[in-house]
Point group: C2
Chain length 188, copies 2
DNA sequence: AAAGTTAGTAACTGATAACTAACAACCGGA
DNA sequence: TCCGGTTGTTAGTTATCAGTTACTAACTTT
């Protein structure tokens, strides 16, 4: 058994939570499953976080933050067409290497929609704020709304196609930015 | 108590299941909740369907089918630019009038992704087949892949923006096809 | 009106969920 | 060396879940 500081442990809980929530969603993920993945007892999670929603919130925040950072880094010093290519490449690389990130994003969107519909706006406010950071991170190098919208629209389509499991050689990918052909299926 | 034929009852279960699954997802929805909405006892659901996945599958199928039909009807007799407008208008109308449909679609995508990742491809195969029907329904009047891809990409972006609750006057909507500004938030 | 079928329910089961309380092991410093 | 705070566990509670069993009420057929 490895002993860590509470802060370090919280960090590994967030990572584990991201993968678990990514695959099974908020309700489908038990705190037991997260604890097992971390290698810690389930009740101890409640020492590190006040409750389950707080764990999800932390995972959600981390997920958005990572994505924004990825776009910022990929487009650093580039403008227009070049920035589009750089960001698209970076995104497809992430999807291929850690498809959980994409799944987690989609889980975040549906979880927020559910919370909003139920009258709870705390999740929604956080996500909208973080989405705007993403938006700005993309729109600065792309210099304008039109390109930003198109770029993000294609991103959302890619998310969906990967989520429902179309293999890279399928014709649905034909007219999508070539490097966006995702290299593998989602397997556990 | 209204007595119906099993077939009619199954139909109302599918409708109720669509709304419940739309708001709370597969795991978040109890069979009890569906039964309550239908106005029938929970055990009786298991007379009408073999198990919970079967109920979800039926709801998922209905959801995709409705969407395909909507695009087919909207674009009937139209081509190119005109068809794009007609389909976009029809879609935004649906979103405004019954936002549950949009939510259910997103729930379907994440549920399928989860099932695929867990090695169960039965859901995935069904959804990919139905997605291709949607694809074809759009690509016939649009006469080509490029336009189809763009149309669907914008659709997915709209789904996401509505899901996370951006109000219609927000700047994220600025460069999106004007009629696509969705007229209200998601409320229960 | 008897015989058979279909629609529906009440009461329960074993499993699993989130969360709590009480205790134990570790570790740096006086 | 013992002391106090931090890291962790074991044992337990209460609630809810999907699914089953055993039954009743209403309609159809003969």
């Amino acid at each position: 058994m490895v002993r860590m500081s509470a802060e370090e442990r919280r960090e590994s809980v967030v990572r584990a939570a991201m993968s678990e929530f990514a695959h099974r969603g908020y309700y489908g993920t038990s705190t037991e499953a997260i604890a097992k993945r971390v290698g810690v007892s389930q009740p101890y999670l409640f020492r590190l976080f006040p409750n389950k929603p707080a764990i999800f919130l932390a995972a959600m925040h981390r997920c958005m933050e990572d994505t924004v950072r990825m776009f910022v880094e990929a487009s650093e010093g580039l403008r227009g067409e070049e920035a589009v290519h750089a960001m698209a490449n970076a995104y497809t690389k992430v999807i291929a290497e850690e498809p959980e990130r994409l799944l987690m994003q989609m889980q975040v969107y549906v979880a927020v929609a559910a919370a909003e519909a139920a009258g709870d706006h705390t999740f929604g406010e956080a996500v909208r704020r973080e989405w705007m950071e993403l938006w700005d991170a993309v729109s600065i190098p792309l210099e304008g709304y039109k390109d930003t919208t198109t770029f993000l629209a294609y991103g959302m389509l890619i998310n969906t196609l990967v989520a429902i499991g179309f293999p890279p050689e399928h014709r649905v990918w034909e007219e999508i930015y070539p490097s966006a052909r995702v290299k593998g299926r989602l397997e556990k």
